[in-house]
């Protein structure tokens, strides 16, 4: 599934212009130090909205980031993500709700 197909499922807020990457997997974490171990192409699901997260997401080349529970990143975070070509999405529900939605949509 591509990021655009995920957005088309509905329920997502789009914070920036995203590169339409293929989602190769999903990783859920709220720790920057944990994220740096994941592989390229993952959809990163998190509650953290700070710059450190984008710095880590760029290093491991994620497909996009989804902030759950309606969390929204600050403008400087969005700007850094845009520079890195990382799509930032928001989801009103909690992480478990999103995990179910992703699984039911065929994302593995």
């Amino acid at each position: 599934m591509k990021v655009s197909e995920l957005v088309a499922l509905g329920g997502f807020k789009v914070f920036n212009t995203y590169g339409d990457r293929e989602i190769k997997g999903v990783y859920i974490s709220d720790m920057v130090s944990d994220i740096i171990g994941i592989s390229e192409g993952n959809l990163l699901v998190t509650l953290q909205t700070h710059k450190n997260l984008i710095a880590a997401a760029n290093l491991v080349d994620v497909a996009a980031v989804v902030f759950t529970r309606g969390k929204a990143p600050a403008d400087d975070v969005i700007a850094l993500a845009a520079k890195a070509g990382i799509g930032l999405l928001g989801f009103e529900g909690d992480t478990w709700m999103l995990a179910k939605k992703l699984y039911e949509s065929g994302v593995r």
Partner: protein
């Protein structure tokens, strides 16, 4: 295949979770950092020679080594305390200059931070670890125009004015 001729395929190994602890000496204003895998990071002041080290901060962090999946070569990254994304705040800084890879490349520079933050002992990170880190993080990038450069922190012009973003979990253990 020998380890010398292997085109390594690095993977993380020996992953440890703990804290990145920063200390400062109020006599000479030097700063050091170390990784603590204790359940609670140490915060006590102590004397070491002419230094009087005080706790300045700690952040949840992870450490890892790299091991080649093909030839089993191992590169310990014991001296790497954290990685820091350069925010390109100072054109005179060596880390900033490392981002000038020429046209056609979108270069992102990360400084690998060693334990001797102020570099008072004149040592920084070993070349083998930096080379392996560069190979690891550049392997399989989606965009062929993207380049990750990991450089030693001794290139940084000023610890005090640097605006780099450290890849550590700032704030997770604080109580506001």
């Amino acid at each position: 295949m020998t380890k010398d001729s292997c085109e390594h395929r690095w993977a993380m190994a020996n992953i440890r979770h703990g804290y990145l602890v920063i200390e400062g000496c109020f006599h000479c204003r030097s700063r050091i950092s170390f990784f603590s895998d204790e359940p609670v990071p140490p915060i006590d002041d102590y004397m070491e020679g002419e230094h009087f080290w005080s706790h300045l901060g700690d952040f949840q962090a992870s450490k890892f080594d790299l091991r080649c999946e093909k030839c089993a070569a191992a590169v310990p990254l014991t001296d790497v305390m954290a990685l820091m994304l350069c925010m390109r705040c100072n054109p005179e800084c060596g880390v900033f200059k490392a981002g000038d890879a020429g046209p056609g490349k979108k270069t992102w520079v990360y400084a690998a931070l060693c334990a001797d933050t102020s570099h008072t002992k004149g040592k920084c990170l070993p070349e083998a670890g930096l080379r392996a880190l560069n190979e690891y993080f550049n392997a399989g990038l989606h965009d062929p125009g993207k380049l990750i450069r990991i450089v030693p922190c001794h290139l940084r012009k000023s610890v005090d004015t640097c605006q780099g973003v450290v890849l550590a979990d700032v704030g997770l253990t604080d109580i506001y």
